[in-house]
């Protein structure tokens, strides 16, 4: 998510301004509106499919490992907090703390992706695939015992991997762009108390991704 | 070739053709108004040397009128449409005691299942899977119980003004009362694959006696 940050905090000429936000920040808000619609499509489909599922939807914790993901959620929330800290630091002109908090955000974000990868690996090992249950797996035994409904597990896998996968993809994009900004802008000290639009804009994106996760965690893992 | 709707053969044709005509008159008026106005303006106000256009930014009253009139007409049409829509397609519009026929749609065939003498589907005496032949008694409510095996198909009988998609995974009921005996075409009107255009059935509307006779023969395996 590199932003063409040519206009910095102010447009280069006097203009009628519809909102009191510089272009990149406004652009990010607009982009996030489109992201909201994208996730709405995925989450909406999940809700529709879940209510119309042919069998009983798997209860929370039977298929998914909730504690691990709860920890992961905690990590992501921490990264949002550290992002706020990073922004506050540079707003005060504190370059040193910006470097620290920005790095903490990157590490938490990367750890989130790592844990999600581990979770996926584990789930696939247990036999939970986007297409449903793998034959001869641990979950297939649960299906045989009647604990789980095979019909609804197919939908569960479809929606689970699509939603969390695209969220993970967004986190990954965020981490990559933050790493890029870290080496090109943060470490060289290019952000100043007056000019730190990049931190604010990537922060907006990051908080959005965090918010989406809280929704996903609630509706996919907890309910 | 007829420049109008097909000859009607069901009770739906009355309200539907009536609404069609009504809308045609209303939209026809609007059409004539707009197009003749345009043509008139084109000739009357064409550029002439020394002529200057009348400088105005609009007229609020005129705008009120041409907002209100279409709004009233459209809402009126919506109310009338809704009245007939509920009679035709409403969930509870199917007449009690309608004669059930199961329609199983698959690429690229219609398979009709008729209830046997007991008048109920899903029993042993059903006459199952009659291919591409829909026979219905005249003047009696018939309810089609549509299901699709593979992709979405759509029952379309032009003379009945009847159309209803058959969707895999759903059971959809669609009813009608045929009014004119005869042989008609039934088509699939939802693209369902390369053989979509071949998904064709013959609809035979016949008297109750003829229908019963046909059904008895069909029960013996003689479908033709």
């Amino acid at each position: 998510m590199t932003t063409a940050n040519t206009d910095a905090m102010r447009p280069p000429f006097p203009a009628e301004r519809g909102v009191d936000a510089y272009n990149t920040k406004l652009g990010m808000w607009v982009f996030l509106a489109s992201e909201v619609m994208f996730f709405t499509a995925l989450i909406g489909s999940y809700i529709i499919l879940r209510f119309g599922a042919p069998g009983e939807w798997a209860r929370p914790g039977v298929v998914l490992n909730v504690p691990v993901t709860a920890f992961n959620t905690f990590l992501l929330i921490c990264s949002s907090v550290s992002m706020v800290k990073a922004y506050a630091s540079i707003a005060d002109g504190d370059q040193r703390m910006l470097k620290i908090w920005f790095l903490v955000t990157i590490i938490c974000g990367a750890a989130f992706v790592g844990v999600q990868g581990f979770e996926y690996y584990h789930l696939i090992h247990r036999g939970f695939l986007p297409s449903g249950v793998r034959e001869g797996s641990e979950l297939a035994e649960l299906v045989a015992k009647g604990t789980l409904s095979e019909a609804s597990l197919g939908l569960y896998g479809s929606t689970f991997y699509t939603m969390t996968g695209f969220h993970g993809f967004h986190v990954t994009c965020g981490v990559i762009s933050m790493i890029y900004l870290y080496f090109t802008k943060v470490l060289p000290g290019k952000y100043t108390q007056q000019n730190h639009g990049g931190v604010e804009v990537v922060g907006l994106y990051w908080h959005f991704v965090d918010l989406v996760w809280i929704i996903l965690f609630t509706i996919v893992y907890l309910i | 070739m007829k420049w109008w709707l097909p000859a009607p053969a069901s009770t739906f044709a009355g309200p539907i053709d009536g609404m069609f005509t009504a809308i045609l008159i209303i939209t026809g008026l609007a059409f004539v108004l707009v197009e003749s106005g345009l043509i008139w303006f084109i000739f009357k106000y064409r550029a002439r040397p020394g002529q200057k256009a009348y400088y105005t930014h609009g007229n609020v009253n005129a705008e009120y009128i041409w907002t209100a009139v279409p709004a009233v007409v459209c809402v009126g049409l919506a109310i009338v449409s809704n009245h007939y829509w509920k009679q035709i397609k409403g969930r509870d519009s199917v007449p009690a005691g309608a004669y059930p026929i199961k329609v199983h749609a698959k690429q690229f065939e219609w398979l009709f299942t008729y209830p046997g003498p007991d008048g109920k589907l899903g029993t042993d005496d059903d006459i199952a899977d009659v291919r591409n032949k829909l026979h219905v008694p005249v003047g009696k409510p018939v309810v089609l119980q549509e299901e699709a095996e593979d992709v979405i198909h759509s029952v379309f009988i032009p003379v009945f003004r009847l159309r209803q998609d058959a969707v895999p995974g759903m059971q959809i009921r669609s009813w009608f009362i045929a009014t004119v005996p005869g042989e008609y075409d039934m088509a699939c009107s939802q693209l369902c694959g390369m053989g979509h255009y071949k998904m064709h059935a013959k609809v035979t509307v016949q008297s109750q006696a003829d229908f019963d006779a046909w059904l008895a023969k069909a029960a013996q395996g003689d479908i033709e």
């Binding site: 607009v30 994208f38 | 109008w4 397609k89 759509s154 003004r161 895999p168 390369m194 979509h196």
Partner: protein
């Protein structure tokens, strides 16, 4: 003339020293990107037309070898006779190309890019590099879509609406890779549109010249702005749906597979939730540009500017709650159908307002029938037919009979061809001098206009009659059906008209190409228009203005009593016009 405040970016110290590649290929200049979109989407318009001709051949002359059909491979047309599976690829790809790769980029890609900064007085888009990315993504999407026609099993074939489960099941449709490429191309196109939209929206909100207040914006910009919002919010939904469809085919998910609990109607809801705003994406910009052209041609202010703006905004809102009217007979709950019918009837009102306001603009005008004006008036005349025929479908009982017939085909073509394309032919002629510094030939433009209008109506009007008779869409051979056999002469008549319609587009193509190199040099303001863009030389230089002009009034001050000419540019200061607040803030240093 009194002062014209802006100064163009010419002969200045940092004059244009970019390399050819940076200037014309990998350009970040909004005007060049607009022109790139123009060439690419005109090409796809031609492709879409070529596909339509094949459809018309098959419908008019079923099972007869198509002239030139022998050039097609065995898998499409052995011995020149179109195969049923190729026919459904044709209808699918014709719709896909026309909607996604011709009309939408022509309206939005070309004119949102080209006009927004020029008409608002900005140096460029807010994010020039994202803008460039948007073009290249769209081109890539188009090429993926085009090449899908040539993969072994052929292209996607479930109609441009791509109804699942037919689209989700290669075993049922016969299209594997081609279908997946359709999904990929649509996701890419969605990305491109989102990148474009966020640019347009940001630019319109934040980069207007001093004095260019919201209600001084030309209606074309209003329309493009609302269109950008619709695109921004609608296309991610389509992308999401296309991704699910792709996953259903590749990694075995079951979103749209009823056999495994998925829902067939889910696709339709997602598609039309996108699809109806998309319908307005395809018409609003044309409406906006036509408003500009009609006011210009009538030499009169637009009638009811504010109600025009509110009509656009109203359509923008209502467009989100009418999608179910595509699904009246889909098995959706009929009660839901009732509510969608009411909203659909209501959305006719803003369109009616616009039509009457256009007529009001022409009323007591001083009409100049230059080629753009002719197209603009034809737009109104044809859009009325398309709009009125929409009321038939909105009435649910009538829709039972005409849904999925040629009545719908006629309706969509009256709106998309009679509407959007006529608007576009006008717009291309109108802004051609701004793009290339030369005029298109007026005489040939008029010949093209009249022939197109004639053959267009001969092609599409009879389709209403076919639709009333019950002629289904997307059928390969209408002569299969007893009730359609009598209509075969009409099908042939339509086909011949369509061939002629296609042929006369050669006049436009030639006029376009010849004018590009040989056209008369354009004067600075050839149409005597009020827009800011005409204060610049033709073509406008990179960066547009050295100093952005101040704006003193709305865009439609034609025949103003205080002006000497019958037009009054937005940036021309009359005695007594106050300086814009934004400009005075700047001079006080509060903005800097």
């Amino acid at each position: 003339m009194t002062t014209v405040a802006g100064t163009p970016h010419v002969g200045h110290a940092h004059s244009d020293d970019r390399s050819f590649l940076r200037k014309y290929i990998f350009s970040t200049d909004h005007k060049i990107i607009g022109i790139q979109f123009l060439f690419v989407s005109l090409f796809f318009l031609f492709v879409g037309g070529l596909l339509a001709m094949q459809i018309r051949w098959q419908l008019g002359f079923p099972n007869q070898p198509m002239p030139g059909g022998k050039l097609l491979p065995e898998t499409m047309a052995p011995d020149g006779v179109i195969l049923p599976e190729y026919y459904i690829q044709l209808v699918t790809m014709h719709g896909t190309f026309m909607v996604f790769f011709a009309v939408m980029p022509l309206l939005v890609g070309v004119y949102a890019n080209f006009l927004i900064p020029l008409k608002l007085g900005a140096h460029d888009m807010a994010f020039p590099r994202i803008n460039m990315a948007s073009f290249w993504t769209a081109l890539l999407a188009g090429l993926v879509m085009l090449s899908s026609l040539f993969v072994p099993e052929g292209a996607a074939r479930a109609g441009w609406t791509m109804y699942a489960p037919l689209s989700a099941r290669p075993d049922l449709s016969g299209a594997g890779l081609g279908q997946q490429m359709w999904c990929i191309a649509i996701v890419l196109l969605g990305l491109s549109s989102i990148l474009g939209s966020l640019n347009y929206i940001t630019t319109v909100i934040n980069m207007r010249a001093p004095g260019m207040t919201w209600f001084r914006m030309p209606l074309s910009i209003w329309a493009l702005f609302i269109t950008a919002i619709l695109g921004l919010l609608a296309l991610p939904v389509l992308s999401g749906a296309a991704i699910m469809l792709l996953f259903d085919q590749t990694i075995g998910t079951h979103f749209f597979d009823p056999a495994a609990g998925g829902q067939a109607l889910l696709w339709q809801h997602l598609f039309w939730f996108f699809g109806h705003p998309e319908v307005y994406i395809l018409i609003l910009p044309a409406m906006g540009m036509v408003s500009d052209m009609i006011a210009n041609g009538s030499r009169k202010p637009i009638f009811g500017y504010h109600s025009m703006v509110f009509a656009i905004i109203g359509i923008g809102f209502l467009g989100w709650i009418v999608w179910g009217h595509h699904m009246f007979v889909s098995g959706m709950n009929p009660t839901l159908g009732s509510s969608f019918m009411v909203t659909t009837m209501i959305i006719a009102v803003p369109s009616a307002i616009k039509t009457f306001n256009w007529m009001g603009t022409m009323w007591r005008g001083n009409l100049r029938f230059h080629v753009p004006m002719m197209h603009a008036v034809a737009f109104v005349a044809m859009f009325v037919i398309g709009g009125l025929s929409g009321i038939f479908m909105a009435a649910t009982p009538v829709d039972m009979h005409i849904h999925d017939t040629y009545f719908i085909v006629a309706h969509i073509h009256y709106v998309l061809f009679g509407g959007s394309l006529f608007g576009l032919f006008g717009a291309i002629t109108f802004w051609f001098p701004k793009m290339f510094g030369r005029m298109m030939h007026q005489g040939w433009g008029k010949v093209h206009f009249w022939l197109t209008l004639l053959f267009y109506n001969l092609t599409f009007f009879p389709m209403h009659i076919l639709g009333m008779a019950g002629h289904m869409r997307r059928i390969y051979d209408p002569t299969m059906y007893d009730f359609l056999k009598p209509y075969q002469p009409m099908n042939q008549f339509i086909s011949v008209s369509a061939f002629l319609l296609f042929a006369v587009q050669a006049i436009f193509a030639l006029n376009f190409l010849v004018s590009l190199f040989r056209g008369a040099k354009a004067p600075q303001n050839p149409w005597q228009d009020n827009g800011l863009e005409w204060t610049l030389p033709n073509p406008a230089p990179h960066g547009n203005w050295e100093r952005v002009p101040n704006v003193y009034r709305g865009p439609y001050e034609y025949s103003h009593p205080n002006a000497t000419e019958d037009y009054l540019p937005q940036s021309q200061k009359l005695p007594g016009d106050p300086e814009p607040a934004a400009a005075s803030r700047a001079s006080q240093g509060r903005e800097a």
